[in-house]
């Protein structure tokens, strides 16, 4: 093979792989993006039931109910709107009422959400950034609140 021919084979192989990877990435992206909403956005955007979502906000005080088989139900609120969440499993160490939380799962019906992952804030000084933003949007956030 000539030098040019070799070079062309190389470039051809590179292009083929990149094209394949790009197709793969696009396909995977269309399939596995999860949107992050606050409770108010869930109501406004009204995604179809069955959509995978991440919902962030505060755990409404007094809303946590634990039942047998490690099932838990609680309400995520931004102090304007609420989403009722059910979850089966162990709640994280730092899960507390009145604190920031992010739940990932599937919307079952408008305002009803089944979470398969629940993330609580990680440090007393730390609040998931998405939750802060969602609360700010609702005007429920005052600077300095996250500080101990």
């Amino acid at each position: 093979m000539t030098r040019k021919g070799r070079r062309l084979t190389l470039i051809g192989a590179a292009l083929a792989i990149i094209a394949f990877a790009a197709a793969l990435a696009l396909y995977a992206l269309s399939d596995s993006i999860v949107f992050f909403y606050g409770p108010t956005e869930v109501l406004q955007k009204n995604p179809t039931p069955g959509t995978r979502l991440r919902i962030g906000g505060l755990v409404k005080a007094g809303s946590l109910v634990k039942t047998e088989d490690q099932k838990a139900a609680f309400t995520i609120t931004d102090n304007a709107n609420n989403v009722a969440v059910t979850y089966q499993g162990l709640l994280p160490d730092l899960f507390r009422e009145g604190q920031g939380v992010v739940a990932e799962g599937v919307l079952e019906a408008p305002g009803r959400f089944h979470a398969d992952t629940v993330l609580a804030k990680h440090d007393e000084r730390y609040m998931p950034r998405e939750v802060v933003d969602a609360l700010k949007k609702q005007g429920r956030w005052q600077e300095g609140e996250a500080k101990p």
Partner: protein, 659 residues
């Protein structure tokens, strides 16, 4: 006084870094050897100064000197000594100091061990290294000074974050930084070659030891971090595709590609421009990782307390070095002489394919990591790109790579015999295929990726072994002859085979996760619960005080067919100083699998919530990584990396690097 000496030493290090950056460069531009050699002593001096500074900070933490803000915020007089030390780098300021310490260490390594390097190359390498050092020292001093003082000093510190009070923290960041920062030397070599406008196979020989060191440490660092997350977060997961994890994976992928392409360049003087580009890429990804962790653009377990001014500063450093290097690359690369010829079917060709797959994987990770950030900036929509995306893109690409790996090892340079190699690998491939079919049949419609991965893993392991066997085996040779032939194989051959076996072992561990079992249950004392092939019984659940926490401990027996095979004590710890709790998983290693128990809250009626996992072969994931790193270390020890030295090492030390 010690604290202030440490502070002063840090400013001194900045001054030396500036001299190191400017004077040698001036020397090489003017062809002045005297000026060009200034970099060496500066690099050594800078390392001493930063070491002094780091020592002062460690001393302040050990002595619980709360007049130092960094100590007051991240330590406590009651913390055990080991965590007083590891607490030094358990926070932003201290970890940056460790970062530059390692940077200076690599600079000193080039200065001290690189006596055989061409003078101009060494001067330029050290100058670039000096620039990087100066930028980060300025960053530390101006935005994240670990020596900021408090007066009057508080009586007690705020305690180290409980999640970080773990042996894992003592080890994980230093290993990771050795890897991240090690690539700075590779970057400096690339930039130096571009500045000089000349590069040949000898350059690859000089840079390869450094690249291997960095790669080994990065491999170990990532594995260690993964294991730490696995046992400390209590979810039983070992990889979350968290942006910060991705940020460590990207330099690893680019670095792995570099280690392979530099081998081609050393042997065949080919792929020069591409290798230089990879060198820039690997360190750029290291910098990107640093930026993501410290700027606060991400929400992550790893993110340090954010501060916008730091983010902007690091972004400026990022832009300066990546942009500068790429500009230099665009200007100089076309002037580099092209190298050796090879046919597409050859070891070079296989390694090119390896590089293409690794870099596209890397690009996939990059897209998945940055796409949510970009989208949020553009549209305000918040999204996450989850594991399915990464499994789809990276998983498939890396599995494709796994098909090629044994071929690359076995093909000859310049022109390979594909058919012959395929014949040699047919046994390995057949066994792998059988395993795939068997597993696929037992899973019946389960995830298809797992049986494929398992089959490929076996194929890689056997393929790597068969390559070694083919090189050693001669028909009719006696055992003694075979043994001496095996010993005669260069260490780098053993190293690469071992590293590839490591890939297979890790892959096997990953594939096995699909065959595990998981239960979430309300456990009552005395009531058995089945997980996979085992039964778990809690013997007791009780409170127990610890040194700076109190914990609820469950004593659990694990039985297999009625006999106790292991006992574990999962616990939940509560740290009063920070009002937080952590989960201590109880892990029993049974052969290569693990039974993993983490407990949650006690419910009212005396039961305790628990997650129980049976994870077959899970330790293979990390054992494989250790094998990879060990393979890298074996290559590093290869005598050939040292031949060509004009004289034996003068210092008498085993000069592994650049000799």
């Amino acid at each position: 006084m010690i604290v202030e000496i440490g502070h002063y030493a840090l400013t001194l290090a900045l001054a030396l870094a500036l001299v190191q950056a400017i004077v040698p460069l001036w020397g090489t531009l003017r062809g002045d050897e005297g000026l060009a050699s200034v970099g060496q002593s500066c690099a050594l001096g800078q390392f001493v100064a930063i070491a002094l500074s780091f020592g002062a900070l460690v001393q302040a933490h050990l002595a619980s000197d709360f007049s130092v803000l960094n100590v007051a915020e991240n330590s406590h007089s009651a913390v055990p000594t080991i965590y007083k030390i590891s607490g030094v780098w358990g926070n932003h300021e201290g970890s940056m100091l460790l970062w530059v310490l390692i940077l200076a260490f690599f600079g000193a390594l080039v200065a001290g061990l690189g006596r055989g390097l061409p003078l101009i190359l060494r001067a330029n390498v050290l100058a670039v290294q000096g620039f990087i050092s100066a930028a980060f020292l300025a960053f530390i001093l101006l935005t994240s000074n670990p020596f900021a003082r408090l007066s009057p000093a508080p009586f007690e510190g705020r305690d180290l974050n409980p999640v970080l009070q773990d042996l894992g923290l003592a080890i994980h960041p230093p290993l990771l930084y050795l890897g991240y920062v090690g690539f700075s030397i590779v970057f400096s070599f690339a930039a130096a070659a571009l500045i000089e406008g000349r590069i040949d196979a000898a350059w690859a020989r000089f840079v390869r030891p450094f690249a291997l060191v960095a790669w080994c440490f990065l491999t170990l660092g990532i594995a260690m971090g993964s294991y730490w997350a696995y046992y400390t977060l209590g979810w039983g997961g070992f990889w979350f595709w968290d942006p910060v994890e991705n940020a460590s994976l990207m330099p690893w992928l680019a670095g792995t590609a570099f280690v392979h392409s530099v081998a081609v360049m050393e042997k065949r003087d080919a792929l020069k421009v591409w290798t230089i580009f990879l060198a820039i890429l690997a360190f750029s990804f290291s910098l990107l990782g640093t930026f993501l962790v410290r700027s606060g653009v991400l929400t992550s377990v790893h993110a340090f307390a954010s501060d916008p001014s730091r983010g902007v500063f690091i972004l400026a450093i990022l832009a300066l070095f990546i942009g500068g290097a790429l500009a230099l690359f665009a200007w100089r690369a076309p002037m580099l002489k092209r190298g050796g010829l090879f046919a597409p079917i050859s070891r070079e060709g296989a390694l090119v394919l390896n590089n293409l797959l690794l870099t596209t994987t890397c690009a996939g990770v990059l897209i998945g990591t940055l796409y949510p950030l970009a989208l949020e900036q553009l549209t305000g929509e918040k999204i996450t790109v989850g594991a399915p995306f990464f499994n789809m893109t990276c998983g498939v690409l890396l599995l494709m790579l796994c098909v090629v790996v044994p071929f690359g090892q076995s093909l000859a340079w310049k022109r390979g015999d594909l058919l012959g190699v395929a014949q040699r690998l047919s046994v390995a491939a057949a066994i792998g295929l059988c395993i795939f079919i068997a597993l696929f049949a037992t899973l019946r419609g389960g995830p298809v990726l797992a049986p494929i991965a398992a089959g490929l893993a076996i194929y890689i392991i056997l393929g790597s072994l068969s390559e070694i066997a083919a090189r050693v085996w001669r028909r009719g040779a006696s055992l003694g002859v075979l043994f001496s032939r095996a010993r005669g194989l260069p260490l780098s051959a053993w190293g690469s085979a071992l590293a590839h076996i490591g890939v297979g072992v890790t892959l096997l561990g990953l594939a096995a996760t699909a065959f595990g079992a998981e239960t979430i249950a309300s456990m009552r004392v005395g009531e058995p619960q089945n997980v996979g092939p085992y039964q778990v019984t809690f013997q007791s659940v009780a409170s127990r005080p610890g040194p700076n926490y109190s914990e609820v401990v469950a004593k659990a027996d694990i039985r297999s067919g009625g006999t106790i095979v292991a006992s574990v004590e999962p616990a939940k710890r509560f740290f009063s100083a920070r009002q937080t709790s952590t989960t201590q998983a109880g892990i029993a290693t049974l052969w290569f699998g693990q039974l993993y128990i983490s407990i949650g809250d006690q419910t009212g009626d005396g039961a305790v919530a628990a997650r129980l996992y049976w994870k077959p072969l899970v330790t293979f994931i990390w054992l494989g990584a250790c094998l990879m790193a060990f393979g890298g270390a074996l290559s590093l020890a290869d005598r050939r990396l040292r031949i060509g030295a004009p004289a034996p090492a003068r210092s008498g030390s085993p000069a592994i690097a650049a000799r």
